[in-house]
C-alpha cells in the first residue's frame, strides 16, 4: 500500500472508503468530533423540548411517556454518546502529537473503538423509530427498567453494551499509547497535563466500564433470556444494579471531567503566557481524584437505606475529593496570577469555567453531606449541581478546545468574533437555566417530572429556566454556524498558531502530515515548544533521529465489519423475547460475522507499510512548498 497523499483530489467514493477504513488517529479524532457534535445536538434538542414542556405548569406540549423517553435519552446520549466521543476526539487528535508519536499503540483497535461506539449509538437512536426509546432514566434502575414495557430498555442495554465496548477498547489503547509511545525525552513528568488526564481517565475507563458491562449483561439476560438477577420474587436484588451502575457511574463523571481539566490546563498557560503553576501537584491531584473517584459511588445511594455507617463513610470520602479539586482550581488561578492574559475565545471559556465549576463543586460538597442529601437527592438541586459540573466543566472545555485546537485539527480557524458572541449567549443562558434550579430543588421540586401543578411556588423559576435553555440552544447554533464558516477561512499553514504555544503539538507545521513527525522529536524539557522557542529554534523542535523511512499502519475495513456484526446480533437479541423464530439465527449470524472478522485479523499478517525518505520529502514539499518543513 502506498502513502496517502493529502492534497491529491479524490472521488467521493475513495474519500468515503478512506474514512471507513482509516486507522489514522487524526482522522478518527475528526470522526469522533463530528459524531459527538451530532449526538450533542440531538441530546440538546431533547433537552430543549423538555424545558419547553416545563416552561409553564400543567403543560401538555409533550406527553408523560415521551418526556420520560426524552429525559432518558438526553442523559444517556449526553454522557455516553456526546461528551465521551467529543473528548475522545481531542484525545485522539492531540495526545499522539503531544507525546511525539506517529500514531497510537493500536491503530486498528482505535478504529474498532470508534465504529463500536458509533454503531452502538446509532442502534440506541433507532429506538425512536422502532417502538419507543428507553424511558427509565439514564440510570435505568432495575425495578422500573424491568417493568418498562416495549423494547426501549432493550435498545438502551444493547446499544450501551456495544458502544461501551468501544469506549473500553479506546481506553486501553490510550493507556498503552501513553506508556509506550512517548518520544525520547518525554518522561512522565514532562507530559502535558492533557496527556496526563487522558492517561488517568483511560485508567478509570479500564476499571469503571467492566462493572457497567456486567450490569448491562444482567439486565440484558433478565429482560431477554429469563434470568433473575433483579427479580426479587425469584431471589434477585435490584440494589445490585444500583451498585454496579454507580461503581461505573461515579468514575464516569471523572472520566469526563479529568480530560476537561486537562484541556483547561493546556489553554490557561498559553493565554496567560506563563508556565502552569504547580505542575507536579496538578498531576498528583489528577491521580488522587481518579483514585478517590472509585471510593465514593454510594453517595448516589444515600437514600437507598444502606445504614448510617455506610452513609457516613461515603459522605466523608466524597468530601475528600474536594481537596485535590480545590488544589487544581487554585493552581489555575495562580497560573494567571502574574501572567499576561490574552482573552481569546478558548481563554474566555476557561475563565468562565473556573467560577462555574467552583459553584458546581461546592454544591457537590453539600450533597456529600449525607443528612442534607436526604433533602437534595432526586430534587432539582441535583439537576442544577450536575449540570454546573458537566456544562460548566466539560461542555465549556469542549467548546473552548474546539476553538483552541481547530487549527491543528483542520488547518482552519474558527471566528473569534462569533466565538465571543457564542460564549456570552451560551454562558448567560447556562446560568439562567441552572442557577435557579438549585432553588427549585430546595423548594421541593423533584427531578424527572414531566409536569408540575401550579401554585407550588415553582412557576416563575421554571419559566426563567426555560428561557435560559433557549439561549443555550441559540449558542450551540451559533457554534455550528462558526464551524460551517470555518470551511471558507484561509488555511493556517504555519506553526504555533496562538503564538504562545507551549507543548509539542504547537511545534508542528500545519497541516499535520499523515505521519505527524518526519523525524521523531527529542524532548529536552517540560513545555518543549516553549523551550525551543526560548532558545531561538525556528523549527521549534529538536530531532531524535535523522530523516529515514517511516513505518505506518495499514488501513482496514475489518473494524467496521466487526462492529456491524455486533450491530446485527443486537437486533436478534432485541426481538428474542417476542418469540420470533429468526432471533437466534440473527444472533448467530451477527456474532459469526464478528468472530470471522476477528479470526481474519488474527491469521492475516499486518506489518504496516513504510514511507520511504523520498516519499517523505515529496509529501513535505507538496504540503509546505519547496524546501519542505524547514
Amino acid at each position: 500500500m502506498s502513502s496517502v497523499a493529502v492534497s491529491k483530489k479524490k472521488g467521493f467514493g475513495a474519500v468515503l472508503w478512506d474514512y471507513l477504513t482509516t486507522v489514522d488517529h487524526k482522522k478518527l479524532g475528526v470522526m469522533y468530533l463530528f459524531a459527538g457534535v451530532l449526538f450533542f445536538a440531538i441530546a440538546g434538542f431533547e433537552a430543549l423540548l423538555m424545558r419547553i414542556q416545563l416552561m409553564v405548569p400543567n403543560n401538555d406540549f409533550i406527553s408523560a411517556g415521551l418526556f420520560n423517553e426524552l429525559l432518558t435519552m438526553h442523559g444517556t446520549t449526553m454522557l455516553f454518546l456526546a461528551a465521551t466521543p467529543l473528548l475522545f476526539g481531542f484525545m485522539n487528535a492531540i495526545v499522539p502529537l503531544q507525546i511525539g508519536a506517529r500514531d497510537v499503540a493500536f491503530p486498528f483497535l482505535n478504529s474498532l473503538g470508534f465504529w463500536l461506539f458509533f454503531l452502538g449509538a446509532i442502534f440506541m437512536h433507532l429506538s425512536f423509530f422502532m417502538g419507543g426509546a428507553p424511558d427509565a432514566g439514564w440510570t435505568s434502575y432495575a425495578s422500573l427498567s424491568l417493568y418498562s414495557p416495549g423494547h426501549g430498555i432493550d435498545f438502551y442495554v444493547l446499544g450501551l453494551q456495544i458502544s461501551g465496548a468501544g469506549t473500553l477498547i479506546s481506553g486501553i489503547n490510550f493507556i498503552v499509547t501513553i506508556i509506550t509511545m512517548r518520544a525520547p525525552g518525554m518522561t512522565f513528568m514532562r507530559m502535558p497535563l492533557f496527556t496526563w488526564t487522558t492517561l488517568i481517565s483511560s485508567s478509570l475507563i479500564l476499571f469503571a466500564f467492566p462493572p457497567l458491562t456486567v450490569g448491562l449483561f444482567f439486565m440484558l439476560v433478565d429482560r431477554m433470556f429469563g434470568a433473575n438477577f433483579f427479580d426479587h420474587t425469584m431471589g434477585g436484588n435490584t440494589i445490585i444494579w444500583e451498585h454496579l451502575f454507580w461503581i461505573f457511574g461515579h468514575p464516569e463523571v471523572y472520566i469526563l471531567v479529568l480530560p476537561a481539566f486537562g484541556l483547561f490546563s493546556e489553554i490557561i498557560p498559553v493565554f496567560a503566557r506563563k508556565r502552569l503553576f504547580g505542575y507536579s501537584s496538578m498531576v498528583f491531584a489528577t491521580i488522587l481524584i481518579g483514585f478517590l473517584g472509585f471510593m465514593v459511588w454510594a453517595h448516589h445511594m444515600f437514600t437507598v437505606g444502606m445504614g448510617p455507617t455506610a452513609n457516613a463513610i461515603f459522605a466523608i470520602a466524597t468530601m475528600a475529593i474536594a481537596v485535590p479539586t480545590g488544589m487544581k482550581v487554585f493552581n489555575w488561578i495562580l497560573t494567571i496570577w502574574g501572567g499576561s492574559i490574552k482573552v481569546t475565545v478558548p481563554m474566555l471559556y476557561a475563565l468562565g469555567f473556573i467560577p462555574s465549576f467552583v459553584a458546581g463543586g461546592v454544591t457537590g460538597v453539600m450533597m456529600a453531606t449525607a443528612p442534607l442529601d436526604y433533602q437534595l437527592h432526586d430534587s432539582y438541586f441535583i439537576v442544577a449541581h450536575f449540570h454546573y459540573v458537566i456544562v460548566g466543566g466539560i461542555v465549556t472545555a469542549i467548546f473552548g478546545s474546539m476553538h483552541y485546537y481547530w487549527p491543528i485539527m483542520f488547518n482552519r480557524t474558527l471566528s473569534e468574533k462569533l466565538g465571543v458572541l457564542t460564549f456570552w449567549v451560551f454562558f448567560i443562558g447556562f446560568h439562567l437555566t441552572f442557577f435557579l434550579q438549585h432553588f427549585l430543588g430546595l423548594m421541593g421540586m423533584p427531578r424527572r417530572v414531566f409536569t408540575f401543578q401550579a401554585d407550588q411556588g415553582w412557576d416563575l423559576f421554571n419559566y426563567i429556566s426555560s428561557i435560559g435553555a433557549i439561549m443555550m440552544a441559540v449558542g450551540v447554533v451559533l457554534l455550528v454556524i462558526n464551524v460551517l464558516l470555518s470551511i471558507k477561512t484561509p488555511p493556517v499553514n504555519r506553526r504555533d498558531y496562538w503564538g504562545d504555544g507551549r507543548s509539542l503539538e504547537w511545534s508542528i507545521q500545519l497541516p499535520v502530515p499523515f505521519y505527524n513527525f518526519k523525524q521523531t522529536p527529542l524532548v529536552r524539557g517540560f513545555d518543549p515548544c516553549w523551550l525551543e522557542k526560548q532558545e531561538g529554534n525556528k523549527e521549534m523542535m529538536t530531532y531524535a533521529e535523522p530523516l529515514g523511512d517511516i513505518h505506518m499502519p495499514n488501513n482496514s475495513i475489518l473494524p467496521l465489519i466487526m462492529s456491524i456484526g455486533l450491530f446485527i446480533a443486537a437486533f436478534g437479541a432485541l426481538y428474542h423475547p417476542d418469540g420470533v423464530s429468526w432471533s437466534v439465527p440473527v444472533i448467530v449470524i451477527g456474532l459469526g460475522i464478528t468472530v470471522l472478522a476477528m479470526i481474519t485479523r488474527s491469521v492475516k499478517d499486518d506489518h504496516g507499510f513504510h514511507v520511504h525518505v523520498e516519499e517523505v520529502i515529496a509529501t513535505e514539499e507538496r504540503l509546505y512548498g519547496k524546501g519542505g518543513n524547514k
Partner: protein, 357 residues
C-alpha cells in the same frame, strides 16, 4: 448538636444568605426552606451551615480570580510583556490543601452526628408496661402511582392522605409494591426510598399543625422516577394534635365492617359494589395490600387521585377516564364502562365517605 451552630449565625455573612434565601424560599407546605419538624429543621440548619462554608470558599476564589484577571491583562501589560515563569510554590500548595481539609473536617462533624441521628429507629420496638408500642409506626407502601398508609398498631389503613400527630417522632416502614419509589415530604424532612426487596425504616417529626396551610395539608412527593405518572404521584400530609389524632383513629376504627352492597337501592353504592369494591375498600379497618387506594376517608381529602382539585366534576372525569389524568395507572380498564348516570352516582357515593364529618 445544632446548638453549637447558633453562634455561627451571628456572622453577618449568614444574615445576608438568610435574607436571600427567605426571598425565594418557596411555599411553606412544600419547601425545604420552610422546615416544619425536627428532621427538616436539622437539615435546614445543615444547609445554612454548609452554604456558609461554601460561600466563604466561593468568595475567596472569586476574589483571587477576579483580581488576577483584572490586573494581569495583556492589553494593559503590553504585547511584549514576558511574565516570570514560576514553577509552583510548596508553601501555597500546602496552604490550599490544609484549609479545605480543615473546613471539611468541621463540616463532617454535624454530618456524621445527623446521619446517625436520622437513622436511629430503636424506639420503634419499645413497649410500655402493657406491651403496647410507645411510638407511632406507619407502614408506607408505594404503588403505581399512589401511596398506602397502614397503622399496624391501630389496625387501620388509609391512602393518599397521611394523618399524623404533631410533636412526636413518627416511624415509617417503607416498601414498594411494584417498582422503586421514594417517600418525600419536603417541608418536614428528607426522603428515603421505597425499595421492592426490603423495608427501609426512618422517622420524621411533624412540628406544626397543617391546619393553617393553604390546603390545610403538607405536600408529599415521589422522588424516584417510577414511570409515566411519576410527576403525579403526590400525597398529602395532615398533621394534627395528638388528641385529634386519637379521635381520628377511633373514628377510623369505627368504620369496621363498612362495605357497599350490590343490592343497595342507592345507584351509587350498588355500582360501586359492582365495579369498584374489588379494589377499593370503604372501611378504614384493615391492613396493607389492597389493589387500589382505600376510600374510607375520601371526602376528608383534598385532592382527587392525589392531584386534581377535590370536587365531584373532577372525580367523575377521573372515573370516566383515569388514563387521561395519570398515564400508566393500574386503574384504567379494570372495570366495565359506566354510564354517565352511574358515574355521577358513584361520585356522589364516594364523596360521601368520611370519618370526620
Amino acid at each position: 448538636m445544632m446548638k453549637g451552630l447558633k453562634k455561627w449565625r451571628l456572622f453577618s455573612l449568614l444574615a445576608v444568605i438568610t435574607v436571600f434565601l427567605s426571598a425565594c424560599s418557596g411555599e411553606d407546605y412544600i419547601s425545604t426552606l420552610k422546615p416544619a419538624g425536627e428532621v427538616g429543621q436539622d437539615q435546614f440548619d445543615l444547609l445554612i451551615f454548609s452554604i456558609s462554608i461554601m460561600t466563604l470558599v466561593v468568595v475567596v476564589v472569586s476574589f483571587l480570580y477576579l483580581y488576577a484577571f483584572a490586573k494581569f491583562r495583556r492589553s494593559k501589560l503590553g504585547e511584549k510583556h514576558m511574565p516570570k515563569q514560576v514553577e509552583g510554590s510548596h508553601t501555597l500548595e500546602i496552604i490550599w490543601a490544609v484549609i479545605p481539609i480543615v473546613l471539611l473536617l468541621i463540616l463532617s462533624v454535624p454530618t456524621i452526628l445527623s446521619t446517625y441521628k436520622f437513622a436511629d429507629v430503636k424506639a420503634m420496638d419499645e413497649v410500655d408496661e402493657e406491651g403496647n408500642k410507645t411510638a407511632l409506626t406507619v407502614n408506607v407502601t408505594a404503588k403505581l402511582y399512589w401511596w398506602e398508609f397502614e397503622y399496624p398498631e391501630q389496625g387501620i389503613v388509609t391512602a393518599q392522605e397521611l394523618v399524623v400527630p404533631t410533636g412526636e417522632r413518627v416511624y415509617f416502614n417503607l416498601k414498594a409494591a411494584d417498582v422503586k419509589h421514594s417517600f418525600w415530604i419536603p417541608a418536614v424532612g428528607g426522603k428515603m426510598d421505597n425499595n421492592v426487596e426490603n423495608v427501609n425504616k426512618f422517622w420524621l417529626e411533624f412540628g406544626k399543625e397543617s391546619e393553617g396551610l393553604k390546603d390545610g395539608v403538607f405536600y408529599g412527593k415521589c422522588a424516584e422516577l417510577c414511570g409515566p405518572s411519576h410527576a403525579l404521584m403526590d400525597f398529602k400530609v395532615k398533621t394534627v394534635e395528638r388528641a385529634e389524632f386519637d379521635a381520628w383513629v377511633a373514628s377510623m376504627q369505627a368504620t369496621e365492617g363498612q362495605t357497599a352492597s350490590v343490592d343497595s337501592t342507592d345507584l351509587g353504592e350498588a355500582t360501586f359494589a359492582q365495579s369498584c369494591l374489588g379494589c377499593h375498600a370503604v372501611s378504614g379497618v384493615g391492613s396493607t395490600g389492597a389493589m387500589g387506594p382505600n376510600l374510607a376517608t375520601f371526602a376528608d381529602r383534598n385532592r382527587v387521585a392525589g392531584i386534581l382539585e377535590h370536587n365531584k366534576e373532577n372525580l367523575e372525569s377521573w372515573i370516566a377516564n383515569p388514563e387521561e389524568y395519570k398515564p400508566g395507572n393500574l386503574m384504567t380498564g379494570k372495570y366495565s364502562e359506566l354510564s354517565p348516570e352511574e358515574i355521577s352516582a358513584v361520585a356522589d357515593y364516594i364523596m360521601s365517605l368520611s370519618v370526620e364529618k
